[in-house]
Symmetry: D2
Subunit: 288 residues, 4 copies
């Protein structure tokens, strides 16, 4: 529904108070906005109210540029809201960072090219050149930016320049094997999505399938999360798992894991593109 018409999406969080749902939906109704979906959640422990509401702009009587100031004045300020407003005709621009593994890149690009993701992918950045042919295959610019411990600072600056040049809104790390610096992350807060190949918090860090095999688990998983300065500890967007057995070697774990990584990353990216994610206290709310 939200993609078929020009739609506004508001995400809110604020201290829980009486009447917020009523006030917000009133605001939309009053100006003849046809509500497409409402999802709200109250975390009673944290006394936190959160909400996502979307409405069809076709008959909305308020000019687009007035929505933000009006909403801020009549709702944002009185309820101490942190809130965002997006329009579905503003297509977000996504960069993909890769190293050598191709499975997540292929999966993202196939979804992009077939129209499953409502997004633009103007550029792929690799610290290796291995996957450049795939970028070519899909007609997307590829920039090779090798990184060593010594060159990290300057190379990350280059990356940021490229992201700026391509007007990138958010970054997906599709099995990118470099740790981003705090400085880089600060440029894209809650805008860098990673896929980690374990069900976090188990097996954080390097070589999780080796660790899983050694521990003898009966289930492996993957976790997509927003990147924070704490390695593999950012807010989790999505996780999934697959059963394994004693028959699996490290190499079959790696193979089976790829399918989970792809699906978990794609779900997280989709939720982000559709503005269904909200982060607070290092956790996420994923709205319907």
């Amino acid at each position: 529904m939200e993609n078929n018409t020009n739609t506004a999406i508001v995400k809110i969080h604020c201290p829980d108070q009486s009447g917020i749902v009523a006030r917000v939906t009133d605001f939309i109704n009053l100006h003849h906005g046809n509500i497409i979906s409402v999802d709200q959640h109250v975390d009673h422990n944290e006394n936190l109210f959160s909400m996502r509401v979307s409405w069809d702009l076709t008959d909305f009587s308020m000019p687009r540029e007035e929505i933000r100031p009006t909403f801020q004045k009549f709702l944002g300020d009185p309820y101490q809201m942190k809130w965002t407003l997006n329009f579905t005709d503003e297509i977000p621009r996504m960069a993909i960072f890769v190293s050598k593994a191709s499975h997540c890149l292929y999966d993202l690009l196939a979804r992009y090219q077939s129209g499953e993701f409502r997004v633009e992918v103007p550029v792929i950045i690799g610290n290796h050149a291995t996957l450049e042919p795939i970028a070519k295959q899909f007609g997307i610019d590829f920039v090779h930016i090798p990184i060593t411990a010594d060159t990290k600072d300057e190379q990350e600056k280059k990356e940021l320049e490229i992201l700026k040049k391509y007007k990138v809104d958010f970054v997906v790390l599709a099995r990118y094997m470099q740790v981003l610096s705090q400085s880089f992350i600060n440029h894209f807060p809650e805008k860098v999505i990673n896929i980690h190949h374990s069900f976090l918090p188990a097996f954080a860090g390097a070589k999780p399938y080796h660790a899983a095999h050694k521990r003898g688990v009966k289930i492996i998983g993957a976790t997509s999360h927003y990147v924070t300065t704490d390695l593999d500890a950012g807010p989790i967007i999505e996780q999934d798992i697959n059963r394994i057995s004693h028959r699996d070697s490290v190499s079959t774990l790696i193979q089976k894991g790829k399918d989970i990584e792809k699906i978990v990353l794609s779900r997280a990216v989709k939720a982000h593109i559709e503005r269904r994610t909200l982060v607070y206290k290092n956790r996420t709310i994923i709205f319907n």
Copy 2:
């Protein structure tokens, strides 16, 4: 949350119109009801609005007996709502019908006795006496009502009398191997919950595990649904599945299936007890 305090639960469905969420939440706020949860859904194809809202009655300014007529006047009538109101301090009374298989009965009674279900179980009815000792074990009345094709009418009347005597609100068929008559079902519309041992609509009718084995499926399932006069075709409340393999015989399917049946039935019963289910057009909405 809803069980900790005295809570009102309203479930609504009506033609979709602007402003319903705002009007309903306003009504509660106005009388100082503290909203615990709201979940709404619009089926755009059917133009159907549905909603479940619950609020704490502690500070609610309207006497309990006035809620119904007031809500009907100001909301129910104008919006052509079909709606129900329940209070969590009114504990529903559940009867369990059984034949010979014990696994679902044990599971329901263990949940009941440990306080997992907010429900009363005053009586168990069996068309066989096999499970009477389990009823005794848990201190619950057991009534043996054998049924044959010839005695069905009169025996169902007895069942209805017993349900009346024990003031039963709804009935759970815990692998009860008799088909209820239309007349019986009409006494308990959307109040009889069955567990069928297949992922419906596959393998409706008798001996689904035999049929699943014959067909060579790689997954078996179970389905809990409200009973209608169409056999195994009522609105589905919950389903789940388990992977199987060529190694499974019919008897291991039956064994593995028991675990799915128990969990699916218990989730459906819990959703019903908590008033999270809403039926329309032979489908269910399961509210958060």
Copy 3:
């Protein structure tokens, strides 16, 4: 393991008798074959013994061309075996049939190109030309063979000629929306793999997601099976499912279903390529 060295794979089924495992493994040991894996299964109801055994050929003392006649004489004949022998250095050749939906094709080609499937894909056949650009993108020949009710016979003949020309061993229907004739199937018995977008036997035939939505199921699935002349009734190789809810419309079911279709089809294709499937009585054994 099996892919790292030159390996022989034998699949057997025959009436169950004492000593078969011992005789077969003896045969391999005697000629200094190092067994990599053994998996056997006895279906006691059908009195059917089945087995898959693979061994490293590095030190195997018998010339490759003598294995078949010797095995037949000393094992096949005495035990009335139906059996096959394959070598992992004989790479099977797979054709993909498509219509307009791209998701399964992308998924198969990405796995193929990244080396996940040990297979050759010389040709893609489409009854529409829609996906020709994807074939080009991956550097694979695409043949457009439109089919109408009137042209079906002659067009299928063309398809068979192309399969012959490209020396195709087996065919994957990647959401190919045409029913193959009995004559076509007879040319490729247990060699045509289909993906059906429901958990069969539920929702066989056209538009399964529409049917699933109408029935109000809480789980959708996909099924990969060998194609037989009975529509959607061939032996099932793999199935998987995904949970859905009342929030899902037909279009989100179709979207969510794609992910299951891809993964189920790829697992089935992989099992076939690795010679892990064995069909009997319209069911499959999937060896470890």
Copy 4:
């Protein structure tokens, strides 16, 4: 099959060598044992061969008491096997240790009483008396052995005496909230089965659901493992998971977790009873 007739079960592990499967199955065939199932696995990294084979004793020509010495002489010694032999008419005796939580106890006892487990349960030991009524309900002896830091040594001795008195073969910790001492565990090596309420190795130790909620995971799990002197680090027998969301509070996690704990523990206990588990290098092989 194995439970229907008098069956012998042999579990083996040893360095991988040619011909073991042939030799072992030959041994059984030679004495007219009808093999019911064979499952073998080679861990090529560890060069470890493992196998479970079961056969019907009806026509077996060797007296039962001669099987062990003969097998040891002709197979165990030459192949440096570690192996065990069991007969399905020797019913193992299982003790259950509990604290206050009832869900796993109920589940185990319902399975026991309905004949799902081929086991005897002569005694339940609790460090609290809370669950004594449930033991009574099922007609099983209950012994209350309270434990404090000061009394641990002497109380564990009492427990061991009771296990001896009741001729207990293995112990199931059904949410028993005490850590067993090294000395206790040494009396029952690979004979104490625990259920931990997280997907280990994530959230080892106390209050895993609180930790899971804090971390914001989207999946919770449970793990059944053999108890070793390393807390929550013993060989894993079985794991399973359930999806959760931001809507779940700690208390709903605890509630949803119970269902996973029950099913994971029961599968592990069943695998142990049926002699399908084999431990090596702190991992398990679970035979078919």
